[in-house]
């Protein structure tokens, strides 16, 4: 049984502790992660900007990396969504790579999906005595339908107070290159999102996508607000260690 980790470029370069938390957490269930080093990026930055040829070059490394994996797990609903939702479109004119895309589509799971749907785990036995709010990222919820999985996992964390985030379903304004190209609109959106986070008075903002969390966290820091920003994998693993 080969379970592989798709770390995603953003977590690889900017947030290595997420990959570590996933590796250590899954090891507790006897899941040994593989890390095929040929992987780079899912190709979303180029794909969403309309540069599909460039996106294909990047996506091919992903198809190659996970060709012989039985399961692939990624700490991002957005990158998983890209593969799941758009690879078949990206490779629609290449029968061989299309077939590989369809195979990968079946075996790739976002982190919380893998724990709940594949391993059947909803209680990792974590303790996390903090006030936490959760931002559900758009691609995870809308492209992959991830709604219950993180809630189930968080509901079993002992000592944690989960405060509902007002207007949680609103986009944080990240949108990849949107944040640069339409920086004024994106900026207004993230300021509104930060405002809602601050209204909860939570100590920790948790999520499943580092793109969104980089955006919201970066704005909170810009405003000098001391909200700790964590990926759910980090929170759960820290909670397991605390126990």
């Amino acid at each position: 049984m080969k379970v592989s980790l798709f770390i995603t470029c953003i977590s690889d370069a900017l947030f290595p502790p997420i990959g570590e938390a996933m590796t250590r957490l899954l090891a507790r269930y006897g899941v040994k992660l593989h890390f095929p080093e040929v992987q780079t990026c899912c190709g979303q930055p180029a794909f969403n900007s309309g540069y599909w040829d460039e996106a294909r070059a990047s996506a091919k490394t992903i198809l190659e990396a996970f060709e012989d994996s039985d399961f692939v797990i990624a700490p991002s609903g957005s990158c998983t969504g890209m593969i799941h939702h758009y690879y078949p479109k990206l490779f629609e004119n290449d029968p061989i790579l299309l077939e590989k895309s369809l195979q990968l589509q079946e075996k790739i799971f976002e982190f919380s999906q893998f724990l709940v749907q594949v391993l059947g785990v909803t209680d990792v036995g974590a303790v996390f005595p903090h006030k936490v709010t959760y931002h559900p990222s758009c691609h995870g919820t809308r492209l992959l339908g991830i709604k219950e999985e993180p809630m189930l996992l968080m509901s079993h964390v002992k000592g944690m107070e989960l405060v509902p985030l007002p207007y949680a379903e609103d986009c944080c304004g990240f949108g990849g290159t949107f944040a640069i190209k339409m920086s004024n609109i994106s900026g207004a959106m993230v300021e509104e999102k930060s405002q809602h986070v601050l209204e909860t008075e939570a100590e920790v903002l948790v999520g499943l996508d580092m793109g969104c969390l980089l955006n919201i966290g970066g704005n909170l820091k810009f405003q000098g607000k001391p909200v700790r920003v964590m990926h759910l994998a980090e929170l759960l693993y820290e909670g397991v260690k605390l126990k």
Partner: protein, 500 residues
């Protein structure tokens, strides 16, 4: 307060974002509509099934549009309707103007019609000295302000009641208090005279029923009913994709449209009009014309990426759900239609990916539009397809093109990618202060104007992998047989699914 100025979405949104009145007004109303929709759809139940049914009806109609158009036209003509076909906007305006000239019309009274905005019918009448008055309250307000609608169903959504009082006071020649009742009362009084004077009534059309050649109009103010009963001549402008096959299909549309638009179970009035007045009818026009407008719609037929655009029933739910629209309002968009549907429809109707370059970029691709759409149009996908067409057509900025070339080179090979990360770790030292980057250099500027960037850690995950996996493996328990069986079963089921 006035219409945002500028030649691009980015420039216009810059003005809009600073206009507190506009943003407050738009946020207030879209919020109300969005919540109304959520409540109405939850109460109705089985909303997903209704959406699916609506999508199927629309997709079927559009797939057989030639058949249903013929059927509609034949049946409408059999009822005595004059049916015209306008390939382009200017043709629609010309046909309407010819009808008005033929009747030596001095005034036209209109009910709400987005197609009439699209073909600029008011301007065409005015050029001939024919008065054309909007009778929908929202449309009347923006006509007085000399502005286009900023929302598909709430054209004056960007104005608050103080601004509306100011506009109506000017028209009244006296100061009217900013009270909705007084303002609506004034408009009602004023418009009543217009209905009685008008030579021509001009309406839009929510649905054309192919099996009977009928026109169906949803409205709340009763003005469309006045427009279609009082004047002697009626002109109805209809987008060529507005059809549904039967009255039975209307039941589904009547369930989806008002709930999605305003959260109403049904609009206050729903009129079905089949031909001009018969002898036994109590009212209605003596002469009825339907102008079927193409204006770029047929370009979407047969296009696998965009045909579903024609399924749209113009409810405006995607605007209310869109976080971008909510922040910048409708006037930041180019063209008649705004919000997510407008961002796709405007370039699609005009088949010009270069000229409308930035509108497809005015989205974070969050998918809220798709989720809100009662006929499940994948607007978030279409926005990406549009960006792709733009690139394929060569409408790209040089800087971006270079950046994407660089992306391709780096991301094609993990070795180059790893080197680039390494170079970043070293090279960033000049920019990092206290673990974050604040510099507003080059392309970073858009980001760092609102956010800090965390510095790259000294070692990437892949650099740490070997040590980590060796350490973890050394003390790892073996997988429980239960988990193992579970995983194996999943893989087995998958292979049965046929993808290997």
């Amino acid at each position: 307060m006035s219409k945002p100025q500028g030649s691009s979405v980015k420039q216009r949104s810059e003005t809009a974002l600073k206009d507190e009145f506009l943003i407050d007004a738009v946020k207030f109303t879209t919020e109300k509509l969005k919540n109304g929709k959520l409540a109405a759809t939850a109460e109705h139940g089985n909303w997903e099934e209704w959406r699916e049914r609506g999508k199927l009806i629309r997709a079927h109609t559009i797939a057989h549009l030639d058949f249903y158009l013929n059927q509609f036209i034949e049946n409408a003509r059999a009822q005595g309707v004059h049916v015209h076909f306008a390939p382009e906007a200017k043709d629609a305006a010309r046909i309407a103007v010819e009808i008005a000239k033929h009747h030596q019309a001095k005034s036209v009274v209109k009910s709400k019609s987005m197609v009439s905005e699209e073909v600029h019918i008011n301007e065409a009448f005015e050029e001939l000295g024919i008065e054309s008055v909007e009778s929908d309250l929202g449309e009347y307000i923006i006509q007085l302000a000399n502005e286009p609608p900023s929302h598909i169903i709430i054209p004056a959504i960007h104005k608050n009641r103080y601004q509306i009082a100011e506009l109506l006071s000017k028209e009244a020649g006296q100061t009217l208090p900013p009270e909705t009742k007084v303002l609506a009362g004034f408009a009602r009084q004023k418009l009543r005279d217009k209905f009685l004077e008008a030579d021509i009534g001009l309406t839009g059309c929510n649905f054309g029923i192919a099996e009977s050649g009928s026109v169906v109009i949803f409205e709340n103010e009763g003005n469309a009913r006045m427009v279609s009963t009082v004047p002697k001549t009626q002109i109805t402008l209809m987008g060529m994709e507005r059809l549904i096959p039967t009255w039975d299909d209307l039941e589904v549309m009547a369930t989806l449209l008002p709930r999605s638009a305003t959260g109403q179970k049904l609009t206050v009035y729903m009129s079905g009009i089949t031909g001009p007045r018969r002898q036994s009818d109590g009212d209605g026009p003596e002469e009825m014309h339907i102008i079927i407008v193409d204006n770029g719609r047929s370009l979407q037929l047969g296009d696998p990426d965009f045909q579903e655009l024609l399924n749209c029933i113009r409810c405006g739910a995607c605007l209310n759900a869109c976080p971008v629209y909510r922040h910048i309002g409708g006037h930041s968009y180019p063209g008649t239609y705004s919000g997510p549907i407008g961002a796709v429809l405007t370039p699609a109707l005009n088949k010009n990916s270069g000229e409308w370059e930035d509108v497809a970029n005015a989205s974070s691709l969050c998918g809220a539009c798709y989720e809100a759409c009662p006929v499940k149009i994948p607007l978030h996908d279409m926005l990406v397809y549009l960006r792709n067409r733009k690139v394929e057509d060569g409408h790209t900025a040089t800087g971006e093109k270079m950046a994407m070339k660089g992306f391709k080179v780096l991301m094609s090979s993990y070795k180059l990618y790893s080197k680039a990360v390494k170079m970043g770790q070293v090279g960033q030292k000049l920019l990092v202060r206290n673990g974050v980057i604040k510099s507003q250099l080059g392309p970073l500027k858009g980001w760092t104007a609102y956010r800090h960037i965390p510095a790259l850690p000294t070692r990437s995950f892949r650099e740490q992998w070997k040590a980590l996996s060796t350490e973890v493996e050394a003390s790892m328990p073996s997988m429980s047989s239960e988990t193992k069986t579970r995983l194996e079963q999943m893989v087995l089921n998958r292979k049965k699914g046929g993808h290997e």
